[in-house]
């Protein structure tokens, strides 16, 4: 069989940079290259671009410009949020709550803090991966200093009740952080409505370049810096600012927000079509919330087959998707997200994530719907486990 089509359905992993974004960035590599901290006119140009970006980003999320701290990645922002808050507030307490389905960069930051003497507790989720705000209320103690719950899960796409959790944290006087890496630019993000003190957003998941992200830190929220140096970003994140990437990130956000409503409706329609059609395959299950999910996320579990094999066979047919199966992970461990949703290890093997994006067409979806059932059928033919033993 020859490979005819090439269909990218892994937008949750990374997105291509929009050509309009590339165009906006280019000047800042060559002509407008000055260090924003210098005094001359070269610096003034980049300083202006930087502060304009900060202002725009603040406007987009209902914040003040001073509340935006640019960083290099969502991983860095999440590290800064957790470790920065933990170290500043450790005299008040050492108890931190994180949801059990956070991205590795939150969970591993929390794990590291545990080694430094902090007490980490994981907030459970229901079978759809949703955090119950009341569970958070009950878990908050006198010595709790931070709660971190992601806006939407990167694997199964479930959207969390952030503003309710934030309200509870406000009432209890505990700082609240959310990781918006998967939602920023896709669904509305408003820091006041969401009642958050800290919020992570990233560029590479929304058609911007890698190397740019930010952490929103609400005015008055004290945080210990992790990177010390020349005092950039209000002294919270030293390093000469990556102006080109920040300009690109801002342009990418502008483009996303302009089309957000229309685009999320379009993608949700394609998403629902895939869900409806693929669930017709016997012994197939949807992971994540049936309704409260990202417009671009589809996540299945197929019995009797293994996820890496599914992804690689799709790749053979030109379709790029992803899996969090144990066999595909470097440590051969199943996805902590699926286990937290109550799946057994053996049930977590046949998982498949399909994530849509700006350039996903109806034709792409049609091709997927033609190929995927065949792939599952073929792999099940080889598998010793099947419904009808022949």
């Amino acid at each position: 069989m020859t490979q005819k089509e090439k269909v990218y359905l892994d937008y949750a992993a990374s997105t291509p940079v929009d050509p309009k974004v590339v165009k906006a960035m280019l000047l800042y590599f060559t002509e407008k290259f000055g260090n924003p901290s210098s005094l001359h006119s070269y610096a003034q140009e980049t300083k202006e671009a930087l502060e304009q970006s900060r202002e725009k980003m603040a406007n987009f999320i209902g914040a003040q410009p001073k509340e935006i701290i640019f960083t290099s990645s969502a991983t860095e922002s999440n590290n800064l949020a957790l470790k920065g808050v933990a170290f500043y507030h450790q005299k008040k307490g050492k108890h931190i709550l994180v949801s059990s389905i956070e991205h590795d960069c939150v969970l591993n930051s929390a794990e590291w803090l545990k080694k430094q003497g902090f007490e980490i507790e994981k907030i459970p989720v229901d079978k759809y991966g949703t955090v119950n705000p009341e569970a958070v209320r009950e878990m908050i103690r006198e010595d709790t200093i931070l709660v971190s719950v992601m806006h939407a899960n990167n694997e199964i796409g479930t959207i969390e009740p952030i503003s309710k959790i934030g309200k509870i944290c406000q009432e209890k006087g505990v700082l609240f952080h959310t990781d918006s890496a998967q939602t920023f630019g896709k669904i509305p993000v408003d820091v006041r409505k969401m009642n958050v003190d800290l919020l992570t957003a990233s560029s590479q998941k929304m058609y911007g370049p890698r190397g740019a992200a930010f952490l929103f830190i609400k005015k008055g929220t004290k945080i210990e810096p992790l990177i010390h140096g020349g005092g950039h970003e209000s002294g919270i994140r030293s390093s000469t600012e990556n102006v080109a990437a920040i300009v690109g990130f801002t342009k990418a956000t502008e483009l996303c927000l302009k089309e957000m409503k229309k685009e999320s409706e379009r993608q949700a329609k394609l998403r629902d079509k895939i869900i409806k059609e693929i669930l017709k395959i016997p012994d197939t299950f949807l992971n994540g919330h049936p309704k409260n999910r990202l417009p671009n996320n589809v996540h299945f579990r197929f019995s009797f087959v293994e996820g890496e094999a599914v992804v690689m066979m799709l790749d053979y047919h030109g379709i790029a998707a992803s899996t969090a199966s144990a066999c595909s992970s470097p440590k051969l461990e199943p996805s902590h997200v699926l286990l937290a949703c109550g799946l057994k290890t053996q049930e977590a093997h046949g998982s498949l994530r399909i994530s849509l994006g700006r350039w996903t067409s109806e034709k792409d979806v049609k091709y997927l719907l033609k190929v995927l059932p065949k792939v599952i059928e073929d792999l099940r033919k080889i598998s010793p486990f099947k419904k009808n033993v022949y």
Binding site: F304, A309, P330, K381, I382, K387
Partner: protein
């Protein structure tokens, strides 16, 4: 990443399926770890006349299953028992380090199928084969102990296609 040869076996596996009334069956691996290999053999005049596999697993598990059937087919039982994991790996042009255990699984499945043939036909079992078999049984017992909760479900899944606890979510 996987070699071209590995992907060729994965995309077009040789000798998959089941043999009705096999002379020997080797079942290794477990569903919790994510690799299960069932190998069936037909023996004629002390030679592997036919061989087929059913495997649940990743690219490496499927391609090592496929390649070991190629390596074993037509060989005498003594020759087949000499197939090593390195031979399996080399036939695929290499495997990622984290996937080496899949080649071991393929060799174990063949060993167990041949052991099963010998014991079913009351043949004298070579001492080294007996030793290997006992070692594999020991390992299996250890895994079963480690994953007590699920082991009973494995045969059930094979027969019925699902465990009783599973229920389909409708949206």
């Amino acid at each position: 990443m996987y070699t071209k040869k590995t992907l060729q076996h994965f995309n077009n596996p040789h000798n998959y399926g089941k043999i009705e009334n096999p002379d020997g069956v080797g079942k290794v691996g477990n569903i919790v770890c994510g690799d299960v290999m069932w190998l069936y053999i037909k023996v004629e005049k002390n030679k592997i006349k036919d061989i087929k596999f059913e495997t649940f697993g990743c690219v490496a598990a499927l391609s090592t299953s496929s390649v070991i059937t190629d390596l074993a087919k037509g060989k005498t039982l003594e020759e087949a028992l000499k197939i090593s994991k390195d031979e399996v790996i080399n036939s695929l042009g290499g495997l990622p380090p984290v996937k080496i255990h899949c080649s071991v699984l393929a060799v174990d499945a063949l060993t167990e199928a041949i052991y099963n043939y010998f014991s079913k036909n009351s043949k004298t079992i070579p001492e080294s084969l007996e030793k290997q078999h006992r070692q594999l049984q020991k390992e299996e017992a250890m895994t079963k102990e480690k994953y007590k909760d699920w082991v009973e479900t494995e045969e059930e899944i094979h027969k019925h296609g699902h465990t009783h606890e599973e229920e389909k979510e409708e949206i």
